[in-house]
Amino acid sequence: MIKTEGLRKSFDKHTVFDGADITVEDGSVCGLIGINGAGKSTLLRILSGVMRQDGGNVSIDGMPVYDNRAVKSNVFFLPDDPYYDSNFNVKRLRELYEAFYDLDKEKYEKYIKLFHLPVDKPIRNFSKGMRRQAFIAVAFACKAKYIFLDEAFDGLDPLCRMEFKRGIIECKERGTTVVISSHSLRELEDICDSFILIDRSTVKQCGALVDALEKIFKLQFAFGDDQEFTRERLPFEVLRLSKIGKVITVVAHGNSNDAIERIKELSPLFVEEIQMDFEDMFIEEVQSRGYLDYDKGE
């Protein structure tokens, strides 16, 4: 299990985490989401022992991570821009990781073939997506119990994304815990069973994805009268309200059925629930805090 308690991390005067508590259960696939600069990559670097936290506890299987060989032998970290020597080809890349991990050579070769990666060509001459494919092959073959992937889908074509997601699900079935940071929330929704939302130096939400999606809803409705509609007229607290013509859209936390009943009491022309996905949820959560909100900006 991955656990952080009161995690604090700053870069000079910029605070990235100020008391973040995170729990990721074993065998889960966890999506790490947040706006640009929220601290996703920093969190993954702390979890993989690249960086040391300034305060709080960071543990994997109950042991501290930083500079702990026992823990790190179970961890594989794939950064957004992974390092390779200029003369590396896929064979030499494998040799590097073989020096540290009990690499499954057959699985590695399988993915190299699956992605049609040239064996003798230097990795420096690969496209961005091809480089990522080579490192994904390492990630799946290294038998690590914890895999941390930063900007996981970056540069991958749709077919590779599919194979990548299939690979992650296979990892999960073997009991591997995968933490993936990405802005491709629709892709994450396909594979993640939990998520961590980082915003403004802390963890805003953390837990099961299904539960979180059940706790937020989006409704559309309209009233016949022409008077100005304000959020105060609604009998529940809304995260976000927008109005186009007479059609009002609200996003709120809670039970959607209760909210529909309460709106019906106000005699609307119509009221309906709109299905929300992970991306909608993310957008609503961060926009409700004022991020890139043009209305509020004005």
Partner: protein, 327 residues
């Protein structure tokens, strides 16, 4: 760790071979082109300068090559996340670098020495090649260790190179300034790692172990210089590993704020060179001021070097020029 050591060694074999062949060729050429001098003067003209230069250059280039992984965010991400402690990774890189250094130097040294022995025979009877070989490994290890420590004080590759260049001559520069004040015999060279190395090769060339009276050739101050440099080498190795334990990955590619680098070296050189330059020509005084500003912009990575640091360098410059009039 053993697996990684073997991997790192295998990975370095190719470079080791290239360096060995290249340096052996350079030494060989330098011996053969000195044939006339050797035939005329014997061991007194044995061209040790080239092997000293080769050993010195290798001792600087190899640690930079091996430790540059600490200067890039991407490689820090890789090496710090791998299942080995940061110190273990450094220890492997450091020791493999030392093996590459000694191996390539050994090939160059003995290829050259055997050629010299075969070509000039009895003329070089008083050269103790074996002792000279072992004696040169020591200053090379010292330079290697000092370069490793100084280079890794920087957060960026370019800064690391600048730190190595600046600190390599810093002790010698200070000694030169003191020498000017005291009006004593110039011993500056022996307070630089390369000078100490050169001195050792020259020392053993003179058949010291066959004729103990050669010992008088090395003055007290030269001994002090060599011992100081050797102690600095040991301290550097200890410092290298100690500092790696507390190193922060996030500092990588940031401004290099170590006191072993720009922060201290720019004011030190500004003071010393303003003093020494003004003694010779006012044109040099102006050049020193320009150079101080140029290096400061390299440090701050902007033309605006900041008033605090600017004042510090300015004071060093004025004091340096002022002191020159006292000599």
């Amino acid at each position: 760790m053993k697996k990684y050591f073997v991997y790192e060694l295998k990975k370095s074999l190719f470079v080791m071979c290239i360096l060995a062949v290249l340096t052996a060729a350079i030494y060989e050429v330098s011996i053969l082109t000195s044939a006339e001098d050797i035939l005329e003067w014997g061991s007194r003209r044995m061209p040790t300068d080239s092997i000293v230069a080769i050993g010195g250059a290798l001792s600087v280039i190899i640690p930079i090559w091996k430790l540059e992984y600490l200067m890039k965010k991407r490689s820090v991400d890789l090496y710090y996340s791998l299942p080995l402690s940061h110190t273990c990774i450094l220890a492997v890189k450091f020791s493999v670098g030392l093996i590459v250094l000694f191996s390539s130097f050994t090939v160059a040294y003995w290829v050259g020495s055997f050629t010299a022995m075969a070509t000039f025979g009895a003329l070089l009877n008083n050269v103790n090649f074996v002792l000279m070989y072992f004696a040169m490994l020591i200053p090379m290890a010292v330079i290697y260790s000092m370069t490793s420590f100084i280079f890794t004080r920087a957060n960026r590759f370019v800064d690391g190179i600048a730190f190595v260049i600046m600190t390599g001559m810093s002790l010698g520069t200070v000694v030169e300034v003191i020498s000017q004040f005291m009006g004593v015999y110039r011993v500056t060279l022996f307070f630089t790692p390369f000078g100490a190395m050169s001195l050792i090769s020259w020392y053993f060339l003179g058949n010291f172990f066959k004729n103990i009276s050669s010992a008088v050739d090395v003055s007290f101050m030269q001994w002090v210089g060599m011992i100081t440099v050797a102690l600095l080498g040991i301290a550097a190795a200890i410092g290298l590993f100690f500092s790696e334990r507390v190193a922060k990955a996030e500092n990588c590619e940031q401004l290099s704020e170590s006191y072993f680098g720009y922060k201290t070296m720019i004011p030190l050189y500004t003071f010393s060179l303003a003093l020494l330059g003004t003694l010779n020509s006012y044109l040099l005084t102006v050049l020193v001021a320009g150079a101080a500003y140029a290096v400061s912009t390299l440090y701050k990575r902007t033309a605006k070097i900041g008033w605090k640091f600017g004042v510090k360098v300015g004071i060093a410059f004025i004091v340096g020029v002022g002191f020159s009039f006292m000599i």
